[in-house]
Subunit: 338 residues, 2 copies
């Protein structure tokens, strides 16, 4: 089988790989119906995260179960399923508390940009849809594997509730779906920070009430202006740089919350500064598994359409172009069809 | 009048100072009935915080109102009152949200270790007791000016709720009152980290169910052992060093909360480490003013006795010995009588 493999900075190849097989009794192998490129993949693509050895790439997927290990009970061949980028047993205390991405048995699901994928801990990880999805729902279902759940976690970690004011830092796919999530959770006002017309448009479609194009101190000042000098109740940080984290913390009001889901890179904060802000922080890899049943229902009943973040669809064989387009910000997010 | 003045490291003098007067129409001047020494004062006493110029010392107080400015409406001469170390108007949006220590008009109340004290923003800052307190309640009422409210905020910020497991890092007066606060909020299990017999005893009296004397990696391991490998729901950080913050974060379970109230000194955390813990953080100078009415009631009705943290009482003239005793850990907390 041929799949995506990253060899080094800006070197992603569609090449022959071993076809995944059941290796543990708790595994499933799925036929990937759709996969995609994550903003977090760009850290490796751009050489910020070092690649030691050619590595199968991608961690977002949905597809049809082909085969299950002997211990798998809840998932059956033929079912259309979605899973998180971290496999989890869904039974350990951390899973039971809703933090499946901290599962004591968690395992990264790597190499999803391929026609076949081995998913460990299949019973805990995979959630079937109510039936075979109509083709037009596939992009939105795929989005639930990571990007939509990550935006949802940002909103939840930032304590978005009806009537609150939310600021979303970052206009990548996660940021845009964080806007959608804040809207679903009843935020009264949603301020999206974006300087790209196409992304501003989608942010508004997803529920943004205000757009702030400024960044840094100017951006913080604009947020203060828009909130009568008080700051926002909820800030959803969807980038992961020191600048974006600073932007997020300084945009929140005392007693406000920042949910941060952009994987932090070289972010260090002086805790004395943080101390005097009175801002609550919660972040981490989104526990996507917790949200899958609810989000599948919202997509299935067409209450949300997170698949709109895919503005480029390519055959999997053209995965390298998919990365280029996202790297150059020609595409918000690339869907790949095996 | 004579009061405490810090001149430099380990140099606190009881010396002549100007008697405070009303300088703003919103001020009050009180006759200090009791004041005390805060663990946070030791940062200056030990030379960690630099002292540029001789500075009136102390920020915890209770006493009787002597005089009020022309704009003061709610506080009257003769009333016994308690206030926070930060004056606040109690009307701005941050105050209304319960974060009075982020008040847009906040002002440090300094020089409280003296027989007279000017309190700015008296209407917002001072809360009268229901009547003249019996002398035996004075230490507990004094504790509400900072240390008890700070322990309370640690517990609240760490999201202590009935049935939860709480770990308290730090066995100073704030840590001990954080134990008391966690008990009041219904924690099922309270693990106090302490290696001093007298403090362990008081921690147990205040509600600690377990004592952990180990620190660092051993301390973290003990907490994991005591929580079936899961970690604590709530961690109350009451020290403010890099080690104690690391201890706190690593003691919490994924999805758990750390409330940090020790003023951080040289604490830097890599956000990527924090990201993968899934731990929620909230800290800051405790909004003592928010808690005063409730805590006054708990003391007045003798449901709590936070004054027990004062294990040394001295005349104000002996303030220098009070600092020495706390610096050398001969005393948990020193009460001073003008």
């Amino acid at each position: 089988m041929k799949g995506a493999v990253i060899h080094g900075p800006r070197d992603v190849r569609f090449e022959e790989r071993e076809t995944p097989k059941i290796t543990q009794p708790t595994d499933a192998v799925i036929r990937t119906v759709a996969t995609c490129i994550c903003g977090s993949d760009l850290w490796s693509y751009r050489g910020v995260n070092h690649i030691d050895t050619p590595t199968p790439f991608g961690h977002e997927y949905c597809g049809v179960v082909e085969e299950v290990g002997s211990a798998v009970k809840n998932v059956k061949p033929g079912q259309f399923v979605i899973g998180s980028f971290f496999a989890s047993d869904n039974t350990c205390p951390h899973c039971q508390a809703g933090y499946q991405t901290s599962c004591v048995h968690r395992e990264l699901v790597g190499g999803a940009q391929s026609p076949r994928l081995r998913v460990p801990l299949a019973d805990g990880t995979l959630v079937p849809t109510p039936g075979d999805p109509p083709v037009e729902l596939v992009p939105s279902l795929l989005a639930l594997s990571d990007v939509m759940g990550t935006g949802w976690f940002a909103a939840e970690a930032a304590d978005v509730k009806p009537g609150k004011t939310a600021v979303v830092v970052g206009d990548g796919a996660v940021g845009l779906l964080a806007v959608l999530s804040a809207k679903q959770m009843g935020a009264d006002r949603i301020i999206a920070m974006s300087r790209h017309a196409a992304r501003q448009k989608l942010a508004r479609e997803f529920g943004a009430t205000d757009i702030v194009a400024e960044r840094g101190d100017d951006g913080i000042e604009r947020i203060k202006d828009l909130t009568d000098g008080v700051g926002a109740d909820c800030v959803l940080e969807c980038v992961g740089t020191g600048d974006s984290m600073k932007q997020a913390i300084k945009s929140a009001r005392p007693g406000g919350s920042v949910g941060f889901v952009g994987v932090p890179h070289d972010v260090e904060l002086d805790f004395q500064d943080l101390f005097y802000t009175h801002v609550r922080l919660l972040g981490g890899p989104a526990p996507v598994r917790r949200y899958l049943p609810k989000l599948i229902d919202l997509v299935w009943t067409q209450k949300i359409n997170p698949g709109k973040v895919f503005d480029l669809t390519l055959p999997l064989a053209e995965v390298a172009e998919g990365y280029r387009a996202m790297d150059e910000r020609r595409a918000i997010k690339t869907l790949l069809r095996p």
